[in-house]
């Protein structure tokens, strides 16, 4: 999901590339100082930085409820969760930096609108139940996408993902537990939980990216063992895991065509509205503008702080010298 919107670039042959491919095929990890095709480097750089940006922008919709969390326990847990997401951003920027771009350059690309982040964060968090739904569904979908990345051919990315996945699965359980508490609560709480599922279900299915038939990704990323499963395969895994969880909560999945297919053992859904996906990706979501404005404002209002830190460090170095 955090990796949607990638365009693969085919590499250009050669003996070095053959050796590189042989190492990838043998499941060896590629490290920053190893030779790698330029297209591999650029693909990873884009994917990892996009993933990092998603973690950072993703702090905003959940941050929206930290000051209003309904109990001290939930407030502390949510603050810690959003802090984890910031930490994910930090490891991922560090992993991307090993490919030769600085965090400043990557952040500039985001703020100037040249880099993407996951479209899911352009949806608003209207009620407290959205915090439960995000943990359960958005972190849940993220895990489906990210577990295979723990075996990504690029060492620094794979190692960052191992650490991140551990925390994401904690977030997912915590989100589900929020939903469970709401669903066992008052009528108003149950209605809040159902409304959140109604709004987040389809966007979460879109997090896995366009259907395989239309996907421009694929070949090179798959050959390089960056991507190991298809969008549709991961989406189906998510659906199969999540539908029974929704039923356990006593909630209705907002899809009249949803049915269990005995023959394949899968839950089959109705058609996904890819028009909505394209619209939100292109800037037409409820919060696209607010998200970018919030990030730009934090960056601009923080400029004097960063300048002060640099100036002070430079003065300290002069004193030491």
């Amino acid at each position: 999901m955090y990796t949607q919107g990638l365009v693969s670039i085919e590499g250009a042959g050669g003996a070095e590339e053959e050796r590189f491919q042989a190492r990838v095929d043998a499941e060896e990890r590629i490290e920053p100082n190893d030779w790698m095709p330029e297209a591999y480097r650029r693909t990873l750089m884009r994917q990892i930085s996009q993933h990092a940006h998603s973690e950072i922008v993703g702090m905003l919709p959940e941050g929206n409820w930290i000051t209003r969390a309904p109990s001290l326990k939930r407030k502390a847990a949510l603050l810690a969760k959003v802090q984890d997401e910031g930490g994910h951003g930090l490891y991922l920027y560090a992993a991307a930096e090993t490919l030769g771009s600085s965090r400043e350059e990557m952040v500039d690309a985001l703020l100037e609108g040249r880099a993407k982040y996951s479209s899911i964060f352009n949806y608003p968090t209207r009620t407290w139940a959205d915090i439960g739904a995000i943990g359960w569904l958005v972190d849940g979908a993220a895990i489906m996408n990210q577990i295979p990345l723990c075996r990504c051919s690029y060492g620094p990315y794979a190692r960052a993902m191992i650490r991140i996945c551990r925390e994401e699965s904690f977030h997912q359980r915590q989100g589900y537990e929020i939903m469970l508490t709401l669903c066992r609560g008052t009528e108003a709480q149950k209605a809040m939980a159902q409304d959140a599922l109604d709004r987040w279900w389809w966007p979460c299915l879109m997090m896995f990216g366009p259907p395989d038939a239309q996907s421009q990704h694929g070949d090179a990323s798959t050959r390089w063992k960056i991507k190991r499963f298809s969008n549709d395969g991961l989406r189906q895994k998510f659906i199969d895991a999540t539908v029974p969880q929704a039923h356990y909560l006593g909630l209705t999945v907002p899809d009249p065509e949803l049915r269990f297919d005995q023959a394949s053992g899968h839950w089959l859904t109705g058609a996904i509205d890819w028009e909505e996906f394209r619209r939100v990706l292109a800037g037409g979501g409820v919060c696209n503008r607010e998200r970018m404005e919030a990030r730009r404002r934090a960056h601009e209002e923080g400029a004097w702080v960063r300048e002060a830190a640099l100036a002070y460090a430079a003065k300290q170095r002069r004193v030491a010298a």
Binding site: M59, A69, A308
Partner: protein, 253 residues
């Protein structure tokens, strides 16, 4: 809407609620930075300090509940008291302001709180004494972290220096209140708070001096938080903080 609870405030309950409220309100102010900090590393540090303080508040509310003996819990105290029932210092309810306001307050308050909890670790209230030792360690980290920022801001650029000095001027009227004494009946439980002033003055003035900042003279110090006479900003904070909880009386979250 839930109506406010009535709290049977013995001196001990009032003392514990005051310290819990300090931690909760300051923790809330720090949490307002989430997603908006100037540097990613600071997102994490501000959240860390906020989590320490919210954790401290929860432990203190639990002790207040035990002292009150009225079956109130942490959320009753946090969500179901009205503004006039909050016992926090005025300094912690001041708006988060810019990064200088936040870090100057954090440093000056943390220097005080570390000393306060250090002294409280010798309390005859066993549970409180144990808690205080841990809280003092947490606040020592806040002193280091926020203190380092006071140095950077004071000694960084012309702008950061001016902002830090302006923040200090805004905070100064609220410092005296920190040293108001507790009820005399609590002599064995609470430390001699006014006696902390001397050490605080020397630590705070050392830090500010090294940062090139000057603590202004304050002709009219502000006080009243401990008896529920707050400024205009706490009401807004509580309106946001309490609204969801109060909109669903009796619900479990």
């Amino acid at each position: 809407m839930s109506v406010a609870i009535a709290v049977a405030e013995t001196p001990l309950v009032r003392f514990l609620l005051g310290r819990a409220d300090d931690a909760l309100i300051l923790g809330h102010r720090l949490s307002e930075w989430t997603g908006h900090a100037p540097i990613l590393e600071e997102e994490l540090a501000l959240a860390n300090m906020g989590l320490d303080l919210i954790g401290q508040a929860r432990a203190l509310y639990a002790m207040a509940a035990e002292a009150e003996g009225a079956a109130h819990d942490e959320d009753d105290y946090a969500y179901l008291r009205d503004e006039g029932q909050f016992r926090n210092l005025l300094i912690v309810e001041r708006p988060r302001g810019d990064f200088a306001d936040t870090m100057l307050r954090q440093a000056l308050y943390a220097i005080y709180a570390e000393m306060f909890w250090q002294a409280t670790s010798r309390s005859t209230h066993r549970e409180l004494a144990g808690f205080a030792a841990k809280a003092a360690k947490e606040m020592a980290y806040h002193v280091r972290h926020a203190g380092a920022w006071v140095m950077r801001l004071g000694g960084g650029t012309v702008e950061s220096h001016a902002r830090a000095q302006a923040a200090l001027e805004r905070l100064a009227p609220y410092l005296d209140e920190m040293f108001d004494g507790e009820d005399p009946s609590l002599a064995a439980i609470a430390p001699d708070v006014p006696a902390l002033r001397k050490d605080w003055d020397s630590a705070a003035r050392t830090l500010l001096g090294e940062a090139g900042l000057t603590l202004p003279d304050v002709p009219y110090p502000q006080r009243g938080g401990r008896v529920g006479r707050h400024g205009e900003t706490l009401g807004h904070l509580l309106a946001m903080f309490q609204h969801l909880h109060r909109s669903h009386p009796g619900a479990t979250w």
